[in-house]
Amino acid sequence: MELFLTSLLNGVTYGLLLFMLSSGLTLIFSMMGVLNFAHASFYMLGAYFGYLVSTKVGYYPALLLAPLAVGAIGALVERYGLRRAHASGHVAELLFTFGLAFLIEEIVHLVWGKTPVPYRIPASLDGPLFTLYSSTFPAYKGFMMLVSVGMLVALYAALTRTRIGLVIQAALSRPDMVEALGHDVPRIFMLVFGGGAALAALAGVIGGNAFITEPGMAAAVGSIVFVVVVVGGLGSLQGAFVASLLIGVVQTFAVAIDYRIPGMGRMSVSQLAPVLPYLIMVLILIARPRGLMGTRES
């Protein structure tokens, strides 16, 4: 029972973390149709900027300043890079973001070196939040969950309940009409891309000190965020949320199971746990290519 409850809690925590990582990617994809391979790189930039700002000014200002800075970089990337690539179609966009990811990694190497930076959790959030049986639950993870849920609510509200949200949605399906009504569609796309980058950066500021801020961190999360987005349904915010929780819980419970798979020698379920998300993705792609809650078939 103890292991069950701790695992459930750990699973939900991990799931919310995954959502935090992938929400920006979903936003950009659903609004612009751009599969942003550099998403994890913006996450990494967020972590490094967060480290920089938190050592100079403080952690809480970093929560705002780092995403703003990365968001601005994202907007510039859209304005002067992606927009030009867009003219040549989706493949060009894909290749552009793919190259951008390498570029950002090399810049991080040059500026901060190849070893981890000592980015620490602020003292006010360090320590246990509550105790479940004998395990403590860290306050920082509670904070992470809160931010993740906050992201979902804010994004959902912004897209469906605000004027700018409606314009963004309209610009997706009827760009000509929106333009005719006097809205600057390219500027809207620039804002969306910058917003997506800022969301990734926020996840970086929060995830960077919970885990490790090092140049390999983008590559480490790069593949799992795509799994979340594909399983959830490309472009569906709710789908990404459900998929994150699903993957988090499944993976965490699998670790706890020592059952040896018959016919596979020493291989146990727990050893397979980290492969499960990818297995789920393949199965989903076979059985339901548009994902759990996706609306489009790409």
Binding site: E2, L3, T6, S7, N10, G11, T13, Y14, L17, H109, G113, K114, T115, P116, V117, P118, R120, P128, T131, S134, S135, T136, F137, P138, Y140, K141, F211, I212, E214, G216, A219, A220, V221, I224, Q251, T252, V255, A256, S270, Q271, A273, P274, V275
Partner: protein, 414 residues
């Protein structure tokens, strides 16, 4: 290849040959990752190797010749390493140094065995400063390979001997990366614990994928559920730091017996989470260094910055052994040097070191240290951090950790 490229290559080759003739240098090819995930570790090693060579050169070199390090980036890939080895051989380099990754070391040993057999007179010697697969000095031993780090078995010997004396150790959990090194650690830990402390219960034996786990909380929950008071892990890099952090978050009070808590990048990543609970086995201890070695550390820090700590004792030893062997053999011919190195014994900074002739494994003292808050007592901090240091707990002399007999049947050139 265009004519211009060919010309360029020829010019470069001439320039290289000219340089070699002018200075008569002893070149060592450093074949290790200088980019990618392990790039930081490889670069750190390169700096230390170059520094060690500079020390020798400052003394006038050996036999009037200077040591020169030729860095080669293998990107941690065995295939890439073999290509680089070929290029090193073509440049007339007769010594190679490598340490990151036993898969690379294994490929290099195989290639050298073949190359040296087919090209007598052009032999190459391999100075292995950190690849710890026990096979290299047992079944797969080679006359051309010398290992300066203690292998996985020897380090486990030291760890388990230390644990034998720790009365509070009752339940041990084994958590390792799912590849050859992790498997080896798990296997030998079980055997040695059983032999030394049959009362210790192994309550878990888990393997997780290499460098894939982001959140170790589920594993920590399992360790807690098992009731373990100690964890033995061969994990390195982020796999070690994230594990220790997750344990702290969950309030797990277990001690961690590790191989790589002192490796480049791990102390700053572990931070507060590792204090007083992470132990490491190593072939040296900065805070136990004699004055002469301390002076060397100081000049290293002066050159590279106060936050740069020298790390690889294995590299320093390999350069020391090489220069002594060349001096003893009165030749730079790899076969003569290798023969001189076999069985060589001298007083190292931490005690007697001996290159065992039977298997080319260096027998040397091992330390067990604990990761602690730094204080006035500890002159040297851990890997560029200012707040943490390693406190030496126990020292075991070479013979005490070399007890396991080798299965090596050394084949020497005629």
């Amino acid at each position: 290849m265009g004519t211009r490229k060919v010309l360029g290559a020829m010019l470069a080759a001439c320039a290289l040959a000219g340089m070699g003739a002018a200075h008569a240098q002893i070149r060592i090819a450093y074949i290790d990752p200088l980019s990618g995930a392990m790039g930081a570790t490889g670069e750190h090693g390169l700096r230390e190797l170059e520094f060690a060579a500079e020390q020798v050169n400052a003394r006038g070199g050996v036999l009037g010749q200077k040591l020169e390090i030729v860095p080669m980036d293998n990107k941690l890939s065995p295939q890439e390493s073999l290509i680089l080895l070929k290029s090193a051989v073509d440049q007339g380099i007769r010594y190679i140094a490598q340490g990151n990754g036993s898969s690379v070391a294994g490929a290099l040993i195989d290639a050298l065995n073949k190359h040296n057999e087919r090209n007598p007179g052009k032999s190459v010697v391999f100075l292995n400063y950190a690849a710890v697969d026990p096979d290299f000095t047992n079944d797969k031993c080679s006359f051309w390979h010398f290992r300066f780090d203690a292998n996985t078995d020897m380090k486990m010997e030291a760890l388990t001997t230390f644990m034998k004396g720790e009365k509070k150790v009752a339940k041990v959990y084994l958590l390792n990366q799912d590849y050859s090194h992790g498997h080896q650690v798990s296997k030998v830990a079980k055997a040695m614990l059983q032999a030394k402390r049959p009362d210790i219960q192994v309550v878990g034996d888990e393997l997780h994928p290499l460098a894939r786990v982001k959140d170790f909380a589920p594993y920590v929950a399992k360790i807690r559920a098992s009731g373990a008071d100690s964890v033995i892990t061969g994990n390195w890099g982020t796999d070690l730091a994230l594990l220790v952090k997750a344990a702290k978050d969950a309030g797990l009070k277990a001690d961690f017996y590790t191989y790589y808590a002192g490796a480049v990048g791990v102390p700053p990543a572990m931070g507060e989470a590792g204090v007083d609970r992470v132990k490491v086995v190593s072939i040296w201890s900065a805070n136990s260094a004699p004055p002469a070695l301390q002076a060397l550390f100081e000049s290293y820090k002066k050159k590279f910055g106060a936050d740069q700590d020298p790390y690889s004792q294995g590299l320093r030893l390999s350069v020391e052994f090489l220069t002594r062997s060349i001096a003893l053999a009165k030749s730079t011919d790899p076969v003569k040097v290798a023969r001189a190195m076999e069985g060589m014994k001298f007083e190292g900074p931490f005690g007697e070191v001996e290159m065992r002739a039977a298997d080319h494994q260096l027998i040397q003292p091992l330390y067990i240290s604990t990761f602690v808050k730094t204080g006035a007592k500890y002159k040297y901090t851990a890997d560029g951090t200012s707040d943490y240091a390693f406190r030496p707990e126990a020292k075991m002399d070479g013979p005490a950790t070399a007890a396991r007999p080798t299965t090596c049947k050394m084949q020497r050139p005629a």
